[in-house]
Amino acid sequence: MDTFGSLLAGFGVALTLKNLMWGFCGVTLGTAIGVLPGVGPALTIALLLPATANLDPTGALIMFAGIYYGAMFGGSTTSILLNTPGESATIVTAMEGNLMAKRGRAGPALATAAIGSFVAGTIATLLLTLVAPIVVELALKFGPAEYFAVMVLAFTTVSAVLGASVARGLASLFIGLAIGLVGLDSQTGQARFTLGIPELLDGIDVVVVAVGLFAVGETLYIATYFNREADRLETMRGSIWMSRSDWRRSWKPWLRGTALGFPFGTIPAGGAEIPTFLSYALEKKLSKDASEFGKGAIEGVAGPEAANNASATGTLVPLLTLGLPTTATAAIILAAFQQWGLQPGPLLFETQPLLIWGLIASMYIGNVILLILNLPLVGIWVKLLEIPRPLLYAGILVFATLGAYGLRNSWFDLLLLYIVGLLGFLMRRFDMPVAPVLVGMILGPLAEQQFRRALAISQGDLSVFVAHPISATVLAITAVILFGPPIWRRLATR
């Protein structure tokens, strides 16, 4: 079936009443948790995993995707009104957007963020529709060696390219890989690192790790280091609508932000932070009056907001076509697929076309709903920001412990939750990235499986990884990414 026909069939799935409802739940919940500081899409989806295990996967995945990109919309509201990024990808918006709000231009800032997110989300979904079948075509030629190679590439880019320090990124990745080792070996059934504790035979659940890192770790960190700060909520004054000049200054940054964000999401480098910073720098450079940046320039909100939305959608390309998660949220969505025994990748496009295309189609619809939720109804979401911090974090922890305990009604999972929470606290304190832990934990066992399969086919001959042209190329790119920058720096200083 051609792409257009597949997409049409997908709309048939997405437009059923049940799936529309799941999509609506997803984007509404996504907006809410995007607005609330301290709750992100990875945490929310992780908490919903146990409760959705018995549902129809199509509806649940439509909801999860809605939470993912809905949070990108909602995050901008918090950044603009509170100067606290609701989402890590909205740090840039927090700078320029909050300054606009301080000058009484909160309305246009929120509007350009919402419309920009809509434009970027829709274009990025269109690009996803067009690019995914091409990648699938290529990925069908992949064997275990190629899969192992792209997984190694993803490990490298997620941990070493993003973030401030290669050593800390790799340390986080290895922590995740080590967590992934615990449990029964998938090929021989032998227990590894269970320390004789029967609860560990099933491995450490991704819900415990995600909730521990994002909810418990974050709650401990904020309470210990940011307790005294009072938030300053900017009020919405004046018109929410953008003036003619606002539109004129916004539409080009929206398109440029999309053009930056989508490819960054698509390549297995993940993360929306880099394209938002690039977009901000680009808009500042192109602006006729650069002095306005730092005082509340609308271009500095429009561009980065479009970039972070486009990149969130872009991360679905490697996730759906190759099964490669490149952000924490994508890793949790992969875990969601696995909970129904589904493995994202080229084969899923053939075995479950209605699920995949229904999911993609739902994103066109979701973006329209989000535009409505975030423009005329923005006032409702602002109310969420008035929840006092003590009650907000207390509520987060009630849900966090519920998620961990509800897995199998065992106090042991609460103990693990607290231990992972302490780890998350230390990682936040010492600026170690958290996403590589989740990507390593979920992708690690899959990488090991592919590695051992590749060697089983080649009868133990390691040259299989360099003998295949695709895997050799990917591994060469990985080596350049990992070792290129330090060598380059050494040569440059000489």
Partner: protein, 158 residues
Amino acid sequence: MSARAARAGELVLALGLATLGAFILIETHTIAETTSYSGVGPRLFPYLIGIGLAACGAVLAWQALTGGWRNLPVDDDHAMPDWIAFAIISAGIVLQMAIIGIAGFIIASAILFVLIARGYGSRRLMRDTLIALVLSTAVYLLFTKALGLNLPAGLIVF
């Protein structure tokens, strides 16, 4: 926190990672090796991961000893840690773990809620307790009756 204390923290964390790596290497020996056609059994990946962790720990320890970890953000947020808040929140989670099986989800979660709110500086015990009971009861009913999850009822039975 002084710069010296921060360096010490970095060193301890780095050594902790290295120790974890060494532990994985030692523990790997207890996994029975069964090699199939591939010549690779369940030991290889644990070895690689153990080596990787030990190496990252070593590099970070060296960085801590030579001027501190590289490229840390400007550190003015960590000057005055509130360890009492940390302790109250930790106590809340540990208490929840200890009593949820006996007292049930509603009571254990309500106590957790009140303690976390206290850790975040709330002084309004009555308001917090009331919200805590309403929230944990609503959550309990939602998850057990509507979503079919199994949670301990404990002392309160509906």
